[in-house]
């Protein structure tokens, strides 16, 4: 198994090096057949990587502890689901999964954009292959998942915090999101090298960015849910460097998805867009570097390793290479078109971009500062939540407001009068909601009150946009209200899908503010029969139960929960003892009130021999809106991503027009 896996990985590296060199020569000289051969090498590399990954999974399933990686991350007692997911539970397997996703996404990009790549952007093939060759070099030379040893009788088991159902979905989704962002980067750089900076690369890049951005967003939320339910500290996002590493490229990609509309509508921001694409890709590499190198203290850094230097060198190559290329092509990227007004849709997109990028860079500084400090002064410094929370308010609140203002502004320019008319109703609604919340006591947190008022403004603005659009379509003869609504969304899926995503961000904001600003909690030491109360809830300690399984023992405290005197159920909270790993992990008890979108969280911190328990109880108002926001976000993205037949027809017509009369101008 080890020999087969190792040799297949060598073959994959060889194929990718060939695809890079042959693809570059083919793109340079215009050799179509050689380019197709290079593309086939990339596809073959994907099949080879899949074989290597499949081999490793088989080794896990058969408990082949002669492979060091299998022995270090699995055991005979590990349930099958986690055994399969053990592929990405450590450094070497994660990098193999990374390579698999990258070659898979590259193959999909080649097949889906065959004509674009063959006719217009041939450099896409060597760029994708070059990046994949780097990721194939690492498991071949630096961190091989097929390293062997004398097989021990049992493995060391899997990190206990990874033994959670979310772990089976979060990393692959995250990798799909991260790695998918390589494709737009390759299109953008190929366009620059080929001097083909027309709209074709933009359309292809936008689609891939939207896809990857959606998966990355969903992965971040699933990661938050995982942290919330399994780690047992009562929160879902701790501004951990590795969490930030996923959020930074997501923010940069969000900026791109907005500014690319300005390029498509007005042929502006062309330099800015390629900068954003390069920045987004560099941030995904930086995120991988943080996660995989173990240079920062993070609950996600499962290993210290020597790959940091390799990653850092690669990031430098990518950052310098793309900067030089962008500078070299400035003359063809720049357009003479200028903003007509500071109060216009495109200007709102620019403000949104500046805020998003500023926030991403502020986070980057927060993540990088401890590394810089340690390198320069030899003193490690921690940048904690207060830093990020401050900048979340500084950039997040104006962003929230812009999400409401932007859709109400017309392209080109809006006079003060028409702008005032457009915002009047949403503003009135927001002020009304703000006043009601102030009266209800939400003023205890001014930023929270402002966030809720802005959220109300956005919701009103989005609703108004749907209402006005539907009414206009009905007037234009689209039949019933339902027909008019469907026609409205179908005719501009990106716009209305985007509005649904805005609604998701508002839900997220309401959930985050509610659960972090207006939450309450207390700790109590309870004997069986005793109770503790908070926020109308009362938890009575009934006693403990112990459930044994091959992989772990589950000790649970049983608590009878009631709200304002009415019983709502029994909640179990306790600890798991993982036998092979010799590790104790919290098992949090959560009661969800779906009507109020509120959670009561019980964390049994310590069980004493006298039968007593130290219990933490937290009430997290509106926290479930965060998870609901994920569903709405996915819905909005699906609407926006849905294939647009008219756009396809337009692109095809353009190609025909160029082919029919290429030199008539």
């Amino acid at each position: 198994v080890a020999l087969f896996g190792h040799l297949v990985l060598v073959l994959v590296l060889g194929l990718l090096v060939y695809a890079t060199l042959a693809g570059s020569y083919a793109a340079l000289r215009g050799r179509r057949r050689l380019l197709e051969s290079a593309g086939n090498a990339l596809v073959a590399a994907f099949v080879g990587t899949a074989l290597a990954a499949g081999t490793l999974v088989l080794a896990f399933v058969h408990n082949d502890f002669s492979l060091s990686y299998v022995a270090s991350h699995s055991s005979r007692e590990l349930p099958l689901g986690y055994t399969l997911a053990a592929l990405w539970s450590g450094q070497e397997g994660s990098l193999l999964l990374w390579l698999l996703v990258l070659t898979g996404a590259s193959t999909a990009a080649l097949l889906m954009n065959r004509r674009l790549i063959g006719d217009v952007l041939p450099w896409t093939v060597p760029i994708l292959a070059g990046i994949a060759a780097y990721f194939a070099f690492i498991p071949n030379v630096v961190a091989s998942p097929f390293a062997t040893q004398t097989a021990p009788p049992n493995g060391l088991g899997m990190n206990a915090s990874l033994q959670n159902p979310y772990m089976m979905i979060h990393p692959p989704l995250l990798y799909l999101g991260y790695v998918g962002l390589t494709i737009p980067f390759a299109f953008a750089m190929a366009a620059l090298v080929s001097r083909r900076v027309d709209e074709r690369w933009v359309v292809a890049s936008r689609r891939w960015t939207l896809f990857s951005w959606t998966l990355l967003g969903v992965a971040i939320l699933i990661g938050a849910k995982w942290a919330y339910e399994s780690i047992g500290w009562g929160g879902y996002y701790a501004w951990d460097p590795v969490e930030n590493a996923a959020l930074m490229p997501w923010l940069a990609a969000t900026a791109f998805l907005h500014s690319v509309m300005v390029q498509e509508k007005k042929n502006m921001l062309r330099v800015w867009n390629v900068v954003l694409i390069a920045l987004t890709f560099s941030l995904t590499l930086f995120g991988t570097f943080l996660t995989r190198s173990g240079v920062v203290n993070s609950i996600h850094s499962f290993s210290q390793s020597s790959i940091g230097g390799w990653f850092l060198s690669f990031i430098v190559v990518i950052a310098v290479g793309s900067t030089v290329l962008i500078l070299a092509r400035l003359s063809i990227l720049r357009t003479p078109i200028r903003f007509e007004s500071l109060a216009s849709r495109e200007a709102a997109f620019l403000y949104n971009n500046l805020l998003l990028v500023a926030f991403a860079l502020t986070m980057l500084w927060g993540v990088a500062f401890p590394l810089v400090s340690e390198a320069v002064r030899g003193v490690p410094v921690t940048v904690g939540p207060p830093y990020y929370n401050f900048f979340l308010r500084v950039f997040g609140l104006p962003l929230l407001l812009l999400m409401g203002i932007g859709p109400l502004l017309a392209w080109r320019r809006a006079s003060l009068r028409s702008f005032a008319r457009a915002v009047a109703w949403p503003l009135l609604f927001a002020l009304l909601v703000g006043a009601m919340l102030l009266r209800a006591g939400a003023g205890s947190s001014p930023p929270g009150l402002v966030a809720y008022t802005f959220s109300a403004f956005v919701i009103a603005a989005v609703t108004l946009e749907f209402w006005r659009g539907t009414r206009a379509r009905k007037e234009l003869g689209d039949g019933t209200w339902v027909g008019a609504f469907t026609s409205l969304v179908a005719r501009n899926r990106r716009r209305y899908g985007g509005y649904i995503s805005h609604a998701a961000v508002v839900l997220l904001a309401i959930g985050v503010v509610g659960s972090s600003v207006y939450n309450t909690g207390r700790t109590a030491h309870l004997q069986p029969g005793q109770a503790t109360s908070i926020g109308g809830y009362s938890a009575t300690y009934l006693g403990t139960t112990l459930i044994r399984s091959p992989s772990h023992d589950a000790l649970r405290g049983q608590f009878a929960l009631s709200y304002r005197g009415k019983p709502v159920g029994i909640v179990a909270a306790g600890k798991n003892h993982y036998k092979v790993e010799q590790f104790f992990a919290n098992a949090v008890g959560i009661h969800t009130d779906w009507l109020r979108a509120e959670d009561v969280m019980l964390i049994a911190d310590q069980f004493d021999k006298d039968g007593s328990v130290f219990l933490k109880v937290a009430v997290n108002p509106l926290v479930d809106l965060i998870w609901f926001a994920g569903v709405v976000f996915l819905l909005g993205s699906i609407v926006a991503m849905w294939p647009d037949a008219r756009e396809q027809r337009q692109l095809a017509r353009r190609s025909l027009e160029i082919e029919a009369r290429p030199v008539s101008v």
Partner: protein, 116 residues
């Protein structure tokens, strides 16, 4: 010991055949063309025309939904129409462009006489 080597040999041969196939097969389409300045200019104009037409549609819809006032609409529609017409004219084949320019001059002349 030999089974993995045989399997790897099979995979390698399969990969090599797949990679080499386009080099020996028929060319399905013409060789990848280098950027042609005139074609690129034409594409630029086609994109500009589509942008102008889309902007006109968008303006009409925004006006209908009340996002753009009547005053703003009247101010914005003129330049957009001019831009759309200009790109459409530039995209006409050269001969047709001369004919349409002559015909538009002819159409303008009688009006000038009336005015004088």
């Amino acid at each position: 010991m030999f089974l993995p080597l045989i399997l790897v040999a099979v995979v390698t041969v399969g990969a090599l055949v797949y990679v080499a196939r386009p080099l020996f097969g028929n060319v399905k389409s013409p060789p990848a063309a280098h950027a042609d300045d005139l074609a690129a200019r034409r594409l630029e104009l086609v994109e500009e025309r589509d942008r102008a037409l889309a902007a006109l549609k968008e303006l009409e819809f925004d006006h209908r939904t009340g996002k753009v006032s009547d005053v703003d609409y009247r101010e914005l529609i003129g330049p957009l129409r001019t831009r759309a017409v200009e790109t459409l004219r530039l995209l006409e084949p050269a001969g047709q462009r001369v004919r349409s320019a002559r015909s538009s001059r002819r159409q303008r002349r009688p009006k000038a006489k009336v005015r004088s």
